[in-house]
Symmetry: C2
């Protein structure tokens, strides 16, 4: 067990099946089995799910948002309290984003130039500056195991000139982040982020330049920002081959269960997304047979559990009628149970993919999983 | 274990110390150690706390609200789904109120006469009728272990004539409820409710008349409805002696930790109250050293747990700084942790009282508990 505290960050591909890979990331706070899904603990808390239950769902790592934590409670405060792991009682690996994405989506009056981003907090209007160097400093204060470079992420569609400008700026920031990250604690890793929007040529330029700079892992950023799924998948297909085989590939902010399945088929190793928890708060459950909207009146008298084969007790121990009642009544217990059920489903899917890749039956797993989703949930209940 | 399913309802006083009593109620769904505090599962869910965690806090029984459940999802539906225990995944005893109190406090356009109450739902304005017979029918459909008579509960202060009218009406309803309850499942019990406001004479009339009718347990209702604590305690002192020694006494809708301590000292065996969960949702924690308002900025950098001696892991595993952050950020995890911490504190208090009564040191326990509350929480942290 001492290797957890002393080994440097590393990634090992243990099995491949087509483009899909199964592997293991070693960090200062433990192992991450890949393909990995990272639940989101935006403000140092996974919404409506306790840390111990996030772990019990099968998650090896979670993601926290630099933007939110820099505004409240502040990275210096978290550092003084012993770092993010201790603060949120999550002793396992944590990845933090750089804050760039939320600056774009949440803050007001943002101004971007070569030095970095200036913006006003969505909480109180206070002005903040986020440079590549400060983004690294904040993530180190939080004591993240995996740190992300600051990048500029555009919504799609966007003009090509704009995509190019942002991609090149992100590359210059990648270099500055790498310099700023020198001397970070052992076992921590900084990932570069491929940008370039939906332009294959720019994606390749970005990927190759990042590989030249050299990172222990690479993210594909700027997707799932408004483009059709086929554009996203095509971009992954074109980008992944330009990334080193021996480094983890992280598709940021993605996605639906289908997105995950299709992206793993194209060589992606890591994901994060708010969908399981956000949808859980809105009454939507993910299951083996596709999504189930528990707001729907058809569940009101349904004594069946949501999924008797789920790894999540809440999906087995409560009837659909009860879950429906909780959602309709606005009981906090509804989001609590559904968010947990959804996190379990996402981890079951990842675990199923890892096993299938290890056993060289990923194509069958993918077909069977898609067939079960297509069958749908409603058919069973007359 | 078979006795749980076959024995009739019973109550046994195991120890007394002054007026305080420690005992055991046997129900069809298990034992209730008294003095007992019942967490509130208004709409078939304890707000922000899972059933298993309610149990882990030390609760033997919970209370559910007939008013809310009759409106949504409906008692016939819950009965068809196997009853309230199964519906909410709480296999232990449940007490239901009669709905009368919430009709008064929540519904619109209520009209009360000899037959019962007519009111409009606060949810959709639909008209409902609640008679003594229907109140019993609903509670039996829910499969409550302890069923409460329908009564009329007034806010205090109120004119004496009004208090008298409501108390006498409640007595007539008590007789009708008793008749309606004949033939209920074995092990279930119907409690009568003493009314009479802050008038000692009316309280005695009500208590004696109920004892004449004969119930397996008696509640003191119509308190904690606006009167000072001393009036409440005086009313308990005057009422309790009129109730049989061998029947449980239940003080409805009470109260603060101090209310509980003082009411047990005066011979009360059972309590229910929203305070631990409602205050938990509003950032207030109950501790051995009194209430702690976690919204307060003084906690922002405090690395100490809320109470390292708590039976609740959440009070030990998270810093005050983290709890403060959750409350300030509006994270659902805040209400989740604080509600659970508060339920644990209430059950610790009950468990402490039970042990003290059994060992004839209740006066010392009461003094030591009050002294710790008076000491306060802030002193430790400079």
């Amino acid at each position: 067990m001492t290797r957890w505290m002393s080994d440097p960050f590393s990634f090992q591909v243990l099995a491949t099946d087509g483009c899909a890979r199964a592997g293991e990331i070693t960090t200062a706070h433990g192992l991450v089995r890949t393909p990995a899904f990272m639940p989101i603990g935006t403000a140092a808390a996974v919404k409506a799910v306790e840390a111990a239950d996030v772990r019990a769902s099968g998650a090896d790592i979670l993601l926290a948002n630099t933007y939110h934590l820099m505004l409240r409670p502040g990275p210096e405060r978290i550092a003084a309290l012993g770092g993010l792991h201790r603060f949120m009682n999550w002793p396992l690996p944590i990845l933090t984003d750089s804050g760039g994405f939320q600056v774009m989506s949440l803050s007001a009056l943002r101004k971007i130039d070569e030095r970095g981003v200036t913006f006003r907090s969505h909480l109180d209007g206070a002005t903040y500056e986020l440079s590549p160097e400060r983004a690294i400093e904040i993530q180190n204060l939080l004591d993240a195991d995996i740190v992300m470079q600051l990048d500029e992420c555009l919504r799609l569609p966007a003009p090509r000139a704009e995509i190019e400008r942002a991609a090149l700026l992100s590359l210059r920031w990648a270099e500055r982040c790498k310099r700023a990250f020198e001397g970070a604690k052992p076992g921590r890793a900084l990932f570069g982020i491929v940008q370039g929007g939906d332009d294959p040529g720019l994606r390749l330029v970005s990927a190759r330049a990042l590989v030249d700079i050299g990172f222990p892992g690479y993210a594909i950023g700027g997707l799932a920002v408004g483009e059709p799924q086929e554009v996203m998948l095509k971009t992954i297909e074109e980008t992944a081959p330009a990334l080193p085989l021996d480094r983890p590939r992280y598709l940021m902010g993605v996605g639906t269960p289908e997105d995950l399945l299709e992206a793993v088929a194209r060589g992606v190793d890591m994901f994060d997304c708010v969908l399981p928890t956000r949808n859980g708060r809105h009454g939507l459950a993910f299951t083996r047979f596709g999504p189930v909207n528990l707001k729907n009146a058809r569940h009101a008298d349904d004594p069946r559990p949501l999924d008797e084969a789920s790894t999540c007790a809440a999906a087995r121990d409560y009837s659909r009628a009860y879950l429906h009642h909780l959602v309709r009544s606005g009981e906090i217990l509804g989001p609590m149970l559904l968010s947990r059920i959804n996190l379990h489903y996402y981890q079951e899917l990842m675990s199923g993919m890892r096993a299938a890749i290890a056993e060289k039956r990923f194509a069958d797993f993918r077909a069977a999983t898609r067939a079960a989703w297509s069958r749908g949930d409603i058919a069973e209940w007359a």
